[in-house]
Subunit: 256 residues, 2 copies
DNA sequence: CGCTGTGAAGCGATTCACAGCC
DNA sequence: GGCTGTGAATCGCTTCACAGCG
């Protein structure tokens, strides 16, 4: 995940494991690059290395899609691009709405990779009346009052939430009520959705915290020391979330 | 991711499983909210539901940290906040640099959750000389020529890459050479890094493609039909990445 | 011979279910 | 009685290793 599971209890979707589905876009990107360089075929070894996985995993992944390779030769690049695109549903058009046009929402609206692969930004939506009517990335911003009408008129089934955390659940509820069944959530909030609605979460702050954990471990390891043990519960150290300056167990920084 | 594995072969880091580490920030957020409401203790059931996981998983996760709960009662909120913060390394300050100050980089620079939990943006870096000297979110933008000096002067060990895909590997190499050992990559590129450097990837377009896959499945299921079978390799359908209009296997939209 | 496709083994994570303690 | 902490069972994913095919 990035991150954030919220899927139905990992039933294989049409026989394809979730972990495989998550890698298909990666393969597709690597294959598209090969295609642009007019490379006709590619071996599992080469493609795996381009996608940053190992070749056994890649072959296993492709085996779920069918037998699309040729033994002794490899995979036909164009053919595989087509098959993966089809499997991912990218041979059709997916209108999406972005709700919450702050810095991040605007960044996404401007993001090229958005439009490039079957995703069309049908509308930008914000609660601020001052923004309504303005254009961002050439797309007009609409007021959130019109949310249901926009979803309906454009047949939107995928929504992107880039509002502040406080507004996310409310926006989510309205999206779902209006017919959206897939949500990409950038707000730092756990969304509750009914059965049948998929949520994926992207959370910058969580990613950084995971990195910090490993970084701390590397630093501790480098000094041969363990991270110091915890005091017993109920003893001292209450209310020590952040901002107490000199907790200095470990130097603030320790580049390798 | 998030998403995107690139860690060393899932050796347990100090005995804590990677999957658990990835959930700690989630628990921390839920606990912080409880703390702000001055809730003194919380049961595994309540906390799990606030974090969007099940209680057995949460208890198992906490058991890796130690026995921080009280049977028959639950967990002390403040104490747990402290323990998780410490485990994640958030009791110290992590200076980070953001490289690539386009829409996304600027959005991140403005992102509050950044500063709130021990992460301090030491510098914004961009290759565009016109940006150098400007301020974004109150932080001056520096030219990429100074990258090494900035890393060094601030003891930065975490870098965030928000450049276009083409520049990402190059920037990554320079960050690593300058001493950065953890990278959060927003560019749509597979980064190659030496042993000991952690990379996490956030890729909007991949997340959307995963949602599209499930969305397509739901639609297919709703019509009782299967996704149509593939033509044999080497036959027709070459060069059909996108843009062939009427592939229309499935209606473009099908809200539940 | 080379490379794909895949059964089988290995491994980590999740879930179950209950013993242990407050 | 209530809720934590945890062995044991289970599940899904990854990796291995090689059979099968071009």
């Amino acid at each position: 995940m990035a991150t954030g599971r919220n899927h139905r209890p990992a039933t294989r979707s049409r026989g394809i494991p979730e972990a495989t589905v998550a890698r298909l876009p990666l393969y597709l990107r690597a294959l598209t690059a090969l295609s642009e360089r007019s490379v006709p075929t590619v071996s599992s070894e080469e493609l795996a290395s381009a996608a940053g996985v190992n070749s056994a995993k890649l072959r296993k992944d492709f085996s779920y899609l069918g037998s699309y390779g040729t033994r002794g030769v490899g995979y036909d690049v164009e053919y595989l691009v087509y098959q993966i695109s089809r499997e991912l549903g990218l041979t059709q058009d997916w209108p999406v709405v972005i709700v919450g046009i702050g810095n991040l929402g605007a960044a996404l609206a401007n993001y090229g990779g958005f439009a490039s692969r079957g995703f069309r930004v049908a509308a930008l939506i914000d609660a601020d009346p001052a923004l309504a009517g303005r254009q961002v990335a050439g797309i007009p911003v609409r007021h959130v009052d019109d949310l249901e009408a926009i979803i309906d008129a454009n047949g939107v089934s995928i929504g992107v939430i880039t509002t502040p955390g406080g507004a996310a659940q409310q926006v989510c509820d309205r999206l779902v009520a209006a017919g959206v069944t897939s949500i990409l959530n950038f707000a730092p909030t756990v969304l509750t959705v009914p059965e049948g609605v998929d949520v994926r979460k992207v959370d910058l702050s969580i990613e950084l915290q995971i990195l910090a954990f490993h970084e701390q471990r590397k630093a501790a390891e480098a000094m041969g020391g363990e991270v110091p043990e915890a005091p017993a519960p109920g003893s001292a150290a209450r209310g020590a979330g952040r901002e107490q300056g000199p907790e200095g167990d470990i130097p603030a920084v320790m580049p390798a």
